[in-house]
Amino acid sequence: MDPLRQSPSPSSSRASSPRTFSCERLGYVGIEAVLDQLKIKAMKMGFEFNIMVVGQSGLGKSTMVNTLFKSKIWKSTMPGLRVPMPQTLQLHSVTHVIEENGVKLKLTVTDTPGFGDQINNDKCWDPILGYINEQYERYLQEEILITRQRHIPDTRVHCCVYFVPPTGHCLRPLDLEFLQRLCRAVNVVPVIARADSLTIEEREAFRHRIQDDLKTHSIEVYPQKSFDEDINDKILNSKIRERIPFAVVGADREHMVNGRCVLGRKTKWGIIEVENMAHCEFPLLRDLLIRSHLQDLKDITHNVHYENYRIIRLKESHALPRGPGWVNLAPTPPGPGKVCRWAEDDSDEDF
């Protein structure tokens, strides 16, 4: 769980060219010190992470974000009575800088109040897709400038957490429509919200049904199977894929349990500990998003989703040269989108 997992450089994924020889080392050179240098540089620069939470109102999205980052990112629920329910979908972004052990994280959380709350929810995903594409567009515009900034501000959404209501039955039509569309544009992590209303058996049954639904509709949620690089990744990600969607409970209040102070929800029949694996799967979500796969989320956003967007845009403006580096993009809906990982790849990779 190296927090500074390197984004794999193009050279490492190519099959070893027949011209390099591995040579015998005669002594200690000190190449590994480059890792320390990178670390120092990264700590100076700080990290950016943009997360979006989507789901119907009342599913505990704001509480979940507060619990994930152990800070009051959002003020807790219960908006005033005079604030009317949003008639259309709106997007609210909030940026905070969180620091831990000298590492600075610039966190941007985008909330989507009004999603799925109307009577007619047709096309309620359009504003969200529009926002995501807008961020890609912004980055693209910065990138194609002749004099670029040293560090392009990254507002692209790295991860979208989708909250599924704990009905216990299966995915609803609205969930399916949304997931199908968004999985092609951004990394989506579905979670079962408010999982404290489901018993363990109900949870497992619900999870299996959701997994079946996702498979039937060819929806690839994060971590996507097609982007596993090597066998280690595959093993790790398979374990995660078995447990997706995680059944989570969010809490921002602390209670005393057995002398320890834990985050949890106190009910008349017991205290639900958020960080207890026996109670809910919040630790898995937190580990996935922050401790193990944060860099991977950013990489896939940059190398896959952003590149796809870029290809489409450049094709539209006829700026992409047709040549050996030109690759085919599978048509968008309804089929599953086979996307290429590297836009400028060797010609021996074909799809």
């Binding site: 119907q56 109102s57 009342g58 599913l59 505990g60 629920t77 219960m78 908006p79 009575l81 329910m85 709350d117 109307q118 009577i119 007619n120 929810n121 047709d122 209501p165 704990p166 009905t167 216990g168 039955h169 299966c170 995915l171 609803r172 039509p173 609205l174 969930d175 399916l176 429509e177 408010r194 404290d196 209303s197 018993t199 363990i200 049904r209 079946d212 639904d213 039937t216 509709h217 929800r265 106190k266 009910t267 008349k268 029949w269 017991g270 205290i271 639900i272 500990e273 026996a278 109670h279």
Partner: protein, 393 residues
């Protein structure tokens, strides 16, 4: 003794033992007579459950009536749900307890609020309710009224979707506004085991405020009489204050503190459905079955049914009624002013039928028959009966 009979018998102040007998008329036993008759006849009750799928409606029905009506239900897969429309399903079950028979009909509304576009998804429900009223009206205006099936919906339990913020969603508001003048609506907070007590309190307040804000007329508990005892009044107060009820349902029995209770087993504790401290299930059950069932039926008959506009039915040539004529004489006055051949035949048919019904016992039958001929109230031994037949059956 059921709580419906809170009659206190008052004897006239006796002068001497002999006087008591002279002054005691004896109609204090009327409620007992009614009770006996009703028990023989049995009751019927139609309950509708509405709300999005996955809110625990079937489980709650199971817990309330302790019968599994949904044994053969197959849950739809996600694909099937995409093309599903709102249906109305009826399940009827006969329950008997201590000699009292209840014919319970549960009207379910699968598919409600599940689609992406839910515009007018309550239309099938309002159509169904109107249809039942229509059917009852037709039966009531018909000839054989002894065995009218009352399929009117007496109560609708509406499950407010899981919402931690307490705001009513547009679908909820739309549904309740479409039905509040036709059916008694009892809003419920479903799956209350995912809420902590503080949240439940706030949620209830918010929902009450929202209901007032949107002008929705939910079922109001009747005021209890001033001469009731304190206990009863206290219970009534508690009932009113806990609306809307936060309920939990369960169709499994678990072991808690050495006892077998109906509940849900979680890793962090056991939720007992019948524990008043855990949820309002007991209050709902008492209200629905033990104390207010009859009031619900009465309000349906007297308020909602009466409010429905009666259009003139040109196709129905036997009975032509308008709203006004119904108020004056609910039963067609015979003979008609200018009878033609068709009507003469009908009159003769009716006469034969009326004459043929020799064994029509019961207060309704006699009063009904007499009223039919005269179209006015009938003076009977126990007072003037009003033109609109109000029987306790």
């Amino acid at each position: 003794m059921s709580t419906g009979l809170r009659y206190k018998s008052k004897l006239a102040t006796p002068g001497e033992p002999g006087d008591v007998d002279k002054q005691y008329v004896g109609f204090a036993t009327l409620p007992n007579q009614v009770h006996r008759k009703s028990v023989k006849k049995g009751f019927d009750f139609t309950l509708m459950v509405a709300g999005e799928s996955g809110l625990g409606k079937s489980t709650l029905v199971h817990s309330l009536f302790l019968t599994d009506l949904y044994k053969e239900r197959k849950l739809l897969s996600a694909e099937e749900r995409i093309s599903q429309t709102v249906e109305i399903l009826k399940h009827t079950v006969d329950i008997e307890e201590k000699g009292v028979k209840l014919k319970l009909t549960i009207v379910d509304t699968p598919g409600f609020g599940d689609a992406v576009n839910n515009s007018e998804c309550w239309k099938p429900v309002t159509d169904y309710v109107d249809q039942q009223f229509e059917q009852y009206f037709r039966d009531e205006s018909g000839l054989n009224r002894k065995n009218i099936q009352d399929n009117r919906v007496h109560c609708c339990l509406y499950f407010i979707s899981l919402s931690g913020t307490g705001r009513l969603r547009p679908v909820d508001v739309g549904f309740m506004k479409a039905l509040h003048e036709k059916v008694n609506i009892v809003p419920l907070i479903a799956k209350a085991d995912c809420l902590v007590p503080g949240e439940i309190r706030k949620l209830k307040e918010r929902i009450r405020e929202e209901i007032d804000k949107f002008g929705i007329h939910v079922y109001q508990f009747p005021e209890c009489d001033s001469d009731e005892d304190e206990d009863f009044k206290q219970q009534d107060r508690e009932l009113k204050e806990s609306a809307p009820f936060a309920v939990i349902g369960s169709n499994t029995v678990v072991e808690a503190k050495g006892q077998r209770v109906r509940g849900r087993l979680y890793p962090w504790g056991i939720v007992e459905v019948e524990n008043q401290a855990h949820c309002d299930f007991v209050k709902l059950r008492n209200m629905l079955i033990r104390t207010h069932m009859h009031d619900l039926k009465d309000v349906t008959c007297d308020v909602h049914y009466e409010k429905l506009p009666r259009a003139v039915h040109p196709a129905d040539d036997q009975v032509k009624l308008t709203q006004d004529s119904r108020m004056e004489s609910p039963i067609p006055i015979l003979p008609l002013p200018t009878p033609d051949a068709e009507t003469e035949k009908l009159i003769r048919m009716k006469d034969e039928e009326v004459g043929g019904e020799q064994g029509r016992m019961g207060r309704c039958g006699r009063a009904g028959r007499t009223a039919r001929t005269w179209g006015v109230g009938v003076r009977t031994a126990w007072g003037q009966s009003e033109p609109h037949r109000r029987c306790l059956c």
